[in-house]
Amino acid sequence: MGLFLPLIYVTEYLFFEPYFLFYVAEYEILNFLSIIVICALTGLVLSMSIYRIKFLQASTKKLRSGLLGSIIGAGAGACCGGIGVALISIFGAVGGVATSVLTNFEIPLRIISIAILVFTYFMIVKDLNIECKVKFDKFRD
């Protein structure tokens, strides 16, 4: 939810003015679904990564790849609204290029983001299966 709410506000599915409104147009359904998937995967990957780092003292490598996936997904489609303008005004020509790339390749970038997050999720699950395996032999003795 921490990512979902800001993201649907930035991508203009949630409005506060002049009325509080949540609105997804028919032509935006694909984009909206991709945001839901990215947010759900980010929630899973981040929580599992933090668990591994905190309790199993694992490296931050997978957390970083998870964050990369989330950032790509969140940045895709940053056009026209506040983010696009901020990018252009802060970073000038580079920001302009970034805005155009993020806009022109919105769907491919979201697919890449989902792919990174899914890959990271399975890698973390695999690691957790090894790291959290209960060694019954110890209890028998």
Binding site: E12, F15, E17, P18, Y19, L21, Y23, A25, E26, Y27, E28, C79, C80, G81, G82, G84, V85, I88, G96, V97, T99, S100, T103, N104
Partner: protein, 303 residues
Amino acid sequence: MNYFVIILGIMMVFSASDVFAQEVPSWIKNNAGWWSEGSIGDSDFLNGIEFLINEKIIHVEVNLLENKKSDEIPSWIKNNAGWWSEGSIGDSDFLNGIEYLVSSGIISINTNNEISSEKLIIGGFDLSNTGPFEGEHNALYTIIMFSDHQCEKCVNWLSHEKKIVTENLIDSGIAKFIVVDYPMLGEDSVSAAEATYCAQEQGNYFEYLSVLNKKYAGVQNGWASLDALVGYAKGLGLNSDDFEKCLFWNQQALRVDYNKKVALSHGVVGTPTFFIVGPDGQSEKIVGTQPPMIFEMVVKEMS
């Protein structure tokens, strides 16, 4: 060997400057020489230069909006003219002086389509230089849309939501609708905005706007390049010579710039941003691609 490479480099630089030395017709040099010597007066020389600029025989880049009016010709410009006529300095140095004269208003150039001096202000919004209104002119409400032609959300709104707004508010005579440019996504946005006004000159503003919405393909990826914009005009059967002249000479640049300043003065930071202006001049801001229902609710609340 190293010396040879350096000499070759210097020769290439000088030969390149010779290629660009034809920016100004050489016969003007005689006039510049006479002017610097005092054989001809200031007004004769300046009138001649003014004519050459307006006839596009010489081209100068000037930002007219940053003019600082002055009546006095600085002595360095006259000196430059003399040196240029003698061949001591290049064309670009001479043109710098001319650009200064235009910027300071001593030479007035004909932009062929200056911004409108007739003010049209609705609810504090200066709409003097926008495109035409859609709907009845005496409609009580005005929907102002600040838009960028390269903004995907603007195009989506115009292609989908706008139809219902048109049916319920514009066609019924309740509101009139107007698009105001706020080009912020690169050079192609500016060119596209200028192109709509070039089309307006030929009476095809709405048709051209509709073509731009249909042809939309992203940001700065060629669909709104100058050549593409000319192609769309040809597709609509517009006079391509007039259209090209209008677009390539930036004849509508001042209008676009003016509208951008209007947007900034009302705190527009992204597109699309709408304002609904009521009969008493009160306005309500709507940011983003909101559904037609919201527009109807705002109008209802204002009445």
